[in-house]
Amino acid sequence: MGKSSKDKRDVASITLGGLQAKEQGWRARSAFKLMQLDEEFNLFEGIHRAVDLCAAPGSWSQVLSKRLSENHANNPQEEPPKIVAVDLQAMAPLPGVIQLQGDITKVSTAEQIISYFEGKLSDIVVCDGAPDVTGLHDMDEYIQAQLLLAALNITTHVLRPGGTFIAKIFRGKDITLLYSQLKVFFPVVTCSKPRSSRNSSIESFIVCQNYSPPEGYVPTMANPLLDFHYSGDNQLTGPNRTIVPFIACGDLRHTVQLANTTLSICSSGYDSDMTYALETKENGEYKSLDPLQPPISAPYLKALELKRNNFYNRVA
């Protein structure tokens, strides 16, 4: 996952994705990932209802809101869009998006989401959830898988048959177990990596299409899905492993448009790994970018603040 190390450049230097996102008013550069997935899979055509799990700071919700509004504008006779966004963290409000602060692995949160749909089913469920990585890869991958399974569990309640489920995955050591689990519910499962996601990052997205629960499957909250084990048709090592097709998306079509910047290499598409020459108009200096929408709270903020105020040495 190496979020800590590999993606250090996110913080250390300017990134084109970040600039672009800021220019275009997205809350996070993750927005491009969803847009690039859409380019490949045409996710949003004619849909009205969406669930955005692990949504903060909300750039996917922004994309959803924009595309679903467009759909409605094109066909005003159809129902207005409905988007439910959930995250552990508080999120700045977004027009047209119902927000819910909660843990998607908790049964009560799932129940609440379900209640918002008032018996109707969603066309798409997306989950960009990522835990804070600890650096213990097996543990991080497990927690990531649990987020995905929790999302899948919610999906089995709210997604209409034929609908789409998209979730972030870490392709770690036990990823084939997740593939097996997803294939139970979706005949078409593809692993896709948007170009705006770094080559070096372990993250990619699983696009599950045409929701078809097994016959007689009754969604239940009481017994959350637990993942699969290695077995005959999905072995630990060797040729019999469940591996889903891979599709790269977002390349060659996405042109870079920046108002304030010029690219020395303007070519077929933006590459998140590439080092670009950037000049800002002001003075040719690199300008450091704040993370687009900083998290509203981070667990160690208090500790930092206490340190700043000399807590360690202060007289109570």
């Binding site: 097996d138 543990m139 060797g238 040729p239 891979f246 790994d273 590439m274 667990p299 160690y300 700043r308």
Partner: protein
């Protein structure tokens, strides 16, 4: 291919002491047993294949039986969803290195070897969920010696109990907690089902304690205690032995101690780690915690301290152990006798620390101190018989030497070694009163008397005592400072008059000491009593602190001049006075040191004062004209009214105060309160600031940089007459003395009292962060020497920016990777290591920030060993790595990374090397390195992929006309591979270079061949010529695919189009070769090895009878997470595969395929 796993370096995630001398370590899937007395590996066993051991849980009661082994103990090891039940049989022998029997006497069994056998009884799983804790359970009535059940806590907050007495274990109990959520941690308390509790660490920052055997109406177990307060996920929970306390650690960087029996729900918060905390153990009055910040810290458990015993929050930390590299200390364990703490790091290191030593740094009672009383009067002044005699004052002359002035005017010396007193001097002018100061360097004592006399006495009577009348009435204080000239000192003497004096004391001729007044110093107009002082010889300044909280600075020009005796002493007035510096409390000490050289504000000093307000203040003092003698107005400033200036360097104070006078500018840069008591002194040891002081009934030494209390002595409270002497950063040797009830109470410490017999490092460090590059140095070793048996040397580099050269040493239980050299020169991640042999053996390292460095590698057998006798299974190669050059930065863009390099020697005689490098700005660059000139020259560059390059390789192709084509192959995030013909640009450059001209940078010709191999990034490529002259190009991608292109590559120096490549067959491709991105490929004979982030190593058979057919041969699970690089070598007829990522793993084939 039959690869077997050998060396593994990686996170040490679990540990437990089997006995005081045997440490069990879970690292990856292996359980190891070490003898802590000598670091010997006693046993190793693979217990959880394909999973790492997260915890080891010993059965509480061990069993002694009459079998072959004296003792037997059961242990549970779990990781992910699997659990192993093991039995460990062992004998404790005497350790060969045991020097001090006392600490292990009870355990040692003479004439016997320590032996450990790990027997795997059973492996269970996979269970349905991730295991967060396991516990041994006895029958409820506590009958039976052995545990009959195992309780398991799972990540979805439910518990299952299994009966293990039967042949097949059966589940006998299951309960879900009413709180259904994911846990990051859990911990059991209790060893019977009816008394079993679980502490659950939830994702939403709460700790819940619930009783496993309780069920509510819905059948869920209700939560008994909800411990709310953390601001982050809970990573670790522990109960105290009696279950009354719970300690939790979190993402929020705090440790919290909760009283479970306490109705008031009071809890304590401990801050101090600078990153996330993974675990914390309660041991008696201490807490031992391990953190992402790479330290292990020991704290006072605040819950167990009496209200009035509670110290400052800062003083709660008693030790900060830094023995691991990189990032993260993951695990810790405490020995049963509570003397040792073991820590396990990300860096594969296992280290031991003495908890006992902390106790010894905490002197609890006065009985640990030596109370020194005067000898019988008769022994030194029999004539005085009944005189009223007692000590008036004392000083520490040396670590074990004390001097005292008595009421009767005797100066006596006490030697602690033989506990003898010696009279040095007697003078009635020093009766009833003496101020004293001692100088360890000069071994003399300066005293001031009631009538204004000073005496200078050598502690061993090397010179006749000097006595001079300085003041009209009593001497208030004296100070001694060393000068830069050995044997020359300054003495400051302060009396009641309006001026005070600075003397130069010269004892270079020991039996003819000279003292001369060099400066008269005007007292401040405001009444203030100087109680501390220091000088800066370089800046000719005397700095004093007063009881009335002022800092006084005098210029003492010409002080360092060895002036003749005729020179008149100069009169100096106060240059700068800063009042109310420590509120209204006394300035207890003042210290100066030069400003660090890097500072923009030189020349100048850092002045540090401590005060009885418990603070220390750091000032920056700029000496604008250090030679100035002109009389400017002297400045008298109230520190409270100093200007507030915007702070530029973000000090914690958030404000900076400036004042100036007589060409001195003083800026307050930092003020920090370290104690609620008195800060009485300060010192710098190896650049770290230590503050000395008193708080409540104790004297302390506090390490400010690391934030922990290094020494604490119960001394009944603050004392005005006290001294402290030390000269090592661990305070292993120190003397602390204070005066009470006419006795000198002294702590004499000659060395750390607990010289425990243990090996501080049981398993050595590897990289502490992700490894990104690995290269076996095969041919690069032994160029200078003819080794009969070649050692296997591997070079690695990565996120920690270190280049490591290690030797593989085979072993009985496991091979080990022994670090030969660690080179810290790169400023950011190392991504590629390649070597080339010309005149010398050169190593090239490169990575982020466009760093590309060339090193000269020298390797020899160790001194005294002939190359022919060198035994690589026990001798370590003597290898050196000398930096020759670094390439210039050529990209226009900051942050350009060098993703990969490839190098060959083009002219060994001249020492010319061609290095091809792939840059993240999409440019392929070719360098010439001239090892004689030690210089890089940029030959050519080219851009084609328009994407970030990932890999680069070179290929030398011979033609029939005796020419050699230089072909460069690049890959990028666009999924393509491109072939460049670099022959003519390189040759032209070299020809002209030989002739003395350096050609301008040229463009590489466009690639002559390319193909789309992958859907996205091509992370790994390897090209090898086959027997028939054709080539295989294997590539692995981000898209999980592995491709092999069988090519004819031709070069003809006579033709117009001198290079071509044609595929001999369709590109063979396995789309889902792995479940994740492929990060390494290597062609070995007619097979290809691929490694991927899915932690599998696949061996592909290649069949070229009809086109190219790939089929999976062997497949191995790799224990290194996030594998990012692989290298393969043939060593002694075995194939050796090295895989790196978060750690390192070596696999070896039985014999050559």
């Amino acid at each position: 291919m039959n690869l077997e796993k050998d060396v593994f370096a990686g996170l040490v995630t679990s540990m437990a002491f089997l006995t005081d001398s045997i440490l069990l370590v879970g690292q990856g899937p292996w359980l190891k047993a070490f003898d802590v007395r000598n670091g010997e590996l006693l046993a190793k066993s693979l217990v959880l294949p394909a999973n790492r051991i997260h915890r080891l849980v010993l059965e509480p009661r061990g069993v002694n039986d009459e079998g072959t082994y004296a003792q037997r103990r059961k242990i549970l090891a779990y990781g992910a969803k699997t659990l192993a039940v093991l039995t460990i049989e062992y004998n404790i022998g005497s350790s060969s290195q045991l020097t001090d029997q006392s600490s292990h006497h009870a355990e040692g069994n003479d004439n016997q070897k320590t032996e450990v056998v790990i027997r795997q009884v059973q492996q269970y799983g996979p269970f349905t969920d991730w295991i967060q804790d396991v516990q041994w359970l006895y029958e409820d009535d506590e009958s039976g010696v052995e545990a009959t059940k195992i309780a398991m806590a799972f990540a979805h907050n439910f518990v299952e109990v299994y009966d293990i007495t039967a042949e097949r274990p059966s589940r006998v109990f299951r309960v879900q907690c009413e709180e259904q959520c994911i846990l990051y941690s859990a911990r059991f308390f209790g060893n019977t089902l009816s008394t079993l509790y679980l502490g659950s660490g939830t994702v939403f920052n709460e700790v819940h304690v619930w009783k496993v055997s309780d069920k509510n109406e819905e059948g869920f177990a209700p939560v008994q205690h909800r411990l709310v307060g953390h601001d982050g996920v809970i990573f670790g929970i522990r109960f105290s032995d009696d279950g009354s306390l719970l300690v939790s650690v979190s993402d929020d960087r705090t440790i919290r101690v909760w009283g479970l029996k306490d109705q008031k729900r009071k809890y304590h918060v401990i801050f101090g780690h600078t990153a996330r905390i993974w675990d914390c153990i309660m041991v008696d009055q201490y807490l031992v915690s391990v953190s992402e910040d790479t330290t292990c810290r020991v704290w006072n458990n605040p819950y167990l301290q009496e209200e009035d015993e509670q110290s400052d929050s800062a003083m709660d930390c008693l030790a900060c152990w830094e023995g691991h590299a990189g990032k993260n200390v993951w695990s810790c364990a405490v020995s049963p006798n509570k003397r040792l703490v073991a820590t396990g790091g990300q860096d594969s290191g296992v280290r031991l620390w003495s908890l006992k030593a902390i106790q010894e740094n905490h002197i609890e009672s006065e009985s640990d101190l030596t109370a020194i009383d005067l000898p019988e009067l008769e022994s030194y002044a029999p004539q005085l018989e009944d005189a009223n005699e007692f000590m008036r004052n004392f000083v520490i002359v040396d670590y074990d030497v004390i001097a005292t002035f008595t009421n009767q005017g005797f100066l006596l010396r006490y030697d602690n070694d033989d506990q003898k007193w010696t009279a040095l001097y007697q003078d009635d002018d020093f009766q009833n009163y003496a101020v004293m100061e001692a100088c360890r360097e000069g071994q003399f004592v300066v005293s001031g008397g009631l009538q204004g006399h000073l005496s200078i006495c050598h502690a061993y009577s090397a010179f006749t005592p000097l006595k001079l009348k300085v003041h009209n009435s009593k001497v208030l204080s004296v100070f001694i400072f060393e000068s830069k000239d050995k044997g020359v000192f300054y003495i400051v003497s302060i009396g009641m008059e309006d001026e005070f004096y600075l003397f130069r004391f010269d004892m270079r001729i020991i039996d003819e000491p000279k003292i001369r007044l060099v400066h008269r110093l005007q007292r401040s107009e405001i009444k203030t009593t100087i109680i501390c002082a220091t000088i800066s010889e370089d800046d000719s300044l005397l700095l004093c602190g007063s009881r009335e909280s002022a800092l006084l600075i005098y210029r003492i020009p010409g002080i360092h001049k060895d002036a003749s005796a005729e020179d008149q002493p100069t009169l100096s007035t106060l240059a700068l006075q800063l009042r109310r510096t420590h509120g209204r409390q006394a300035v207890s000490s003042v210290l100066v040191r030069p400003l660090p050289e890097t500072s923009s504000h030189s020349p100048g000093l850092i002045v540090l004062t401590t005060g009885r307000d418990g603070c220390f203040i750091e000032y920056r003092l700029l000496n604008i004209a250090s030679s100035a003698t002109e009389d400017g107005p002297n400045m008298d400033i109230d520190a409270d009214k100093m200007d507030l200036v915007d702070d530029d360097d973000d000090s914690d104070e958030g404000q900076e105060k400036k004042a100036h006078g007589k060409s001195l500018l003083i800026e307050k840069v930092y003020k920090n309160r370290v104690t609620k008591g008195w800060a009485e002194g300060a010192m710098y040891m190896d650049g770290e600031l230590y503050i000395l002081g008193f708080f409540r009934k104790r004297f302390f030494v506090f390490n400010v940089a690391k934030g922990f209390e290094m020494l604490s002595v119960a001394c009944g409270g603050a004392h005005r007459a006290w001294h402290f002497l030390n000269d090592d950063r661990k305070l292993a040797k120190c003397t602390f003395a204070f005066f009470r009830r006419n006795k000198v109470n002294t702590l004499f410490r000659k060395c750390m009292p607990s010289t425990e017999t243990f090996e501080a490092s049981v398993q050595s460090n590897f990289h502490g962060k992700d490894v990104r590059a690995i290269t076996f140095l095969g041919a690069a070793i032994g160029c200078q020497e003819k080794f009969k048996n070649m050692p296997m040397i591997v070079a690695t580099g990565g996120e920690d920016t270190l280049l490591r050269l290690s030797q593989y040493v085979p072993g009985d239980l496991e091979g080990s990777l022994i670090s030969l050299r660690t080179v810290r020169k790169h400023s950011s991640v190392i991504k590629s290591i390649v070597y080339s042999i010309g005149k010398e053996t050169l190593l090239f390292t490169s990575g982020a920030s466009e760093e590309l460095r060339c090193w000269k590698l020298d390797s020899h057998p160790p001194q005294g060993t002939l190359a022919s006798d060198f035994d690589p299974s026990k001798d370590l190669l003597d290898i050196s790595c000398l930096e020759l050059a670094a390439s210039p930065l050529v990209s226009d863009i900051k942050e350009t990374r060098i993703m990969d390099t490839s190098v060959f020697c083009i002219d060994a005689h001249r020492g010319y090397h061609i290095l091809a490098a792939a840059y993240s700005d999409s440019t392929t660059r070719l360098w010439l390195f001239d090892e004689v000139a030690k210089k890089f020259y940029l030959i050519a560059d080219g851009v084609w992929h328009m994407k970030c390059l990932l890999q680069i390789q070179h290929l030398l192709v011979e033609d029939n006309a005796g020419g050699q084509g230089i072909i460069i192959i690049t890959s990028a995030t666009d999924g393509k591979l491109a072939f460049w013909n670099a022959t003519s640009v390189v040759n032209q450059f070299i020809e002209s270079y030989k002739a003395g001209a350096i050609l301008e940078l040229v463009k590489l010709p466009e690639p002559f061949y390319s193909y789309q191999a992958h859907l996205s990034g091509v992370n790994a490529i390897d090209i090898k010529q086959q027997e028939d002259g054709s080539f295989w190009l294997a590539s692995g991608g981000e898209d999980n695919a592995f491709a092999l292109n069988w090519l004819d590559i031709r070069y003809d120096s006579r033709e117009d189009v001198p290079a071509s490549a044609t595929a001999k067959a369709d590109i063979a491709k396995i789309e889902g070769a792995h479940a994740s991105s492929i990060t390494g490929v290597h062609i070995v004979n007619r097979r290809v090895l691929t490694v991927s982030t899915d932690q599998r190593l696949n061996v592909w058979d290649v069949d070229t009878t009809q086109g190219v057919k790939l089929s999976l041969g062997d497949a191995h699970y790799i224990d290194v997470p996030d594998p990012s690089a692989m290298d393969v070598t043939v060593h002694n007829d075995t194939i050796v595969v090295g895989v790196t990522g978060i750690g390192f793993q070596l696999l070896k084939s039985k014999k050559l395929m």
